[in-house]
């Protein structure tokens, strides 16, 4: 009789241990990132840009790491399936420049970069919706690095600039 009680107690104990393990695994917090890098906004919109004219916008870069990072900037023309619906490839990626071209951001700090956007003149660029990605990455010796893209959505007005 006593042996049976012991067995029942052990079974109950085993059940509770297994239950506790499942609960701990299920609710365990995800691994804390070594660091994270951020870009704001993740999606920038320019409306009514006249072909041939220039406009500017500002990106904020976040460095939530324990060490400073040197950020560089670039553009990327995404594939049609990667773009937002009904948007065409930006006609001239050379019309986009960053100031400064490189930016050192201290640990746990943020920095700002100005983006100059120019579309070629021409009626063929009027009344269109374009998309190009603005990228930033760190100069790092680590095996895995992160590149962040902000979607730049440019819509042009119907008229041609002077």
């Amino acid at each position: 009789m006593k042996q049976k009680t012991n067995l029942t107690t052990r079974l109950i104990l085993a059940f509770f241990i297994a239950f506790a393990v499942v609960v701990i695994l299920f609710f365990a917090p995800p691994p804390t990132p070594r660091y994270y890098l951020g870009i704001f906004p993740a999606e920038a919109r320019v409306s009514d840009l006249v072909p041939g004219n220039e406009t500017q916008l500002e990106l904020t870069i976040y460095n939530n790491d324990a060490v400073p990072h040197n950020f560089t900037f670039s553009t990327y023309n995404p594939q049609p399936e990667e773009r937002r619906a009904n948007r065409s490839a930006f006609p001239d990626s050379g019309g986009i420049s960053f100031s400064p071209e490189e930016l050192e951001i201290a640990n746990n700090s943020e920095g700002k970069v100005e983006v100059n956007i120019t579309l070629p003149p021409g009626q063929e660029y009027a009344g269109r919706d374009y998309e190009i990605w603005l990228g930033t990455t760190t100069q790092s010796a680590a095996l895995v690095t992160v590149r962040l893209y902000s979607r730049l959505l440019v819509s042009t007005s119907g008229g041609e600039g002077s």
Binding site: P30, L37, G38, E43, A142, V144, T145, V146, L148
Partner: protein
């Protein structure tokens, strides 16, 4: 006579139903005020932020033989990517040729078809609890994972196939870039 009673019954049912419908409104009116609250939600500006956790900041493979296969340890959870922003993200991945930092000009070309060769190596990744098999990493950006939700986490490991033939006594280094962009299914602000 029976039909008159039936009509009366139908009329009484309709009146009762009407009273029942009006009852909540009359109760609110009795308290003095009917408040209609309209809440408009404007989308928050999107911020893209991606965190990276790795058990090691480097993958020191050590000495390697021709045709040898090496895997990270832990095999499929070696590196963790976390979406720290406020919008879901699409991730892509690309690799590079491996170079000898001490002897510029010497490199191993990264395979674009999974085969190795003379001074040509191959690299794959496996996303834990997602990938059915190892997926090739090439020098061009390829989709890694689409729609990583806010706060979402993905873990992956790497596999390397050494070249068939290479010069000995070199310290080869390479780099993998994980790119992140707001997911395509995110609505435009």
């Amino acid at each position: 006579m029976g039909s008159t009673q039936g009509r009366k019954l139908k009329f009484a049912s309709l009146v009762l139903a009407f009273i029942l419908i009006l009852l909540p409104f009359s109760a609110a009116s009795a308290q003095g005020v009917i408040t209609i609250k309209i809440t408009l939600h404007t989308p928050a500006p999107k911020m893209l932020a991606v965190g990276l956790t790795s058990s090691q900041t480097e993958w020191n493979i050590g000495d390697i033989e021709p045709n040898q296969v090496k895997k990270t340890a832990p095999e499929k959870t070696w590196c963790t990517i976390t979406n720290k922003g406020n919008c879901s993200v699409n991730l892509s991945i690309k690799g590079e040729n491996a170079v000898d930092a001490a002897h510029s000009g010497y490199e191993w070309v990264l395979s674009d078809d999974g085969t190795n060769g003379k001074e040509k190596y191959a690299l794959w990744y496996w996303i834990a609890y997602y990938s059915p098999d190892y997926t090739l990493i090439t020098t061009s950006e390829r989709p890694f994972y689409n729609g990583l939700e806010v706060g979402g986490v993905k873990q992956f490991g790497l596999e390397l196939l050494a070249p068939v033939e290479f010069e000995p006594a070199k310290n080869m280094e390479t780099n993998i870039t994980i790119s992140a962009v707001a997911a395509s299914n995110e609505t435009e602000n």
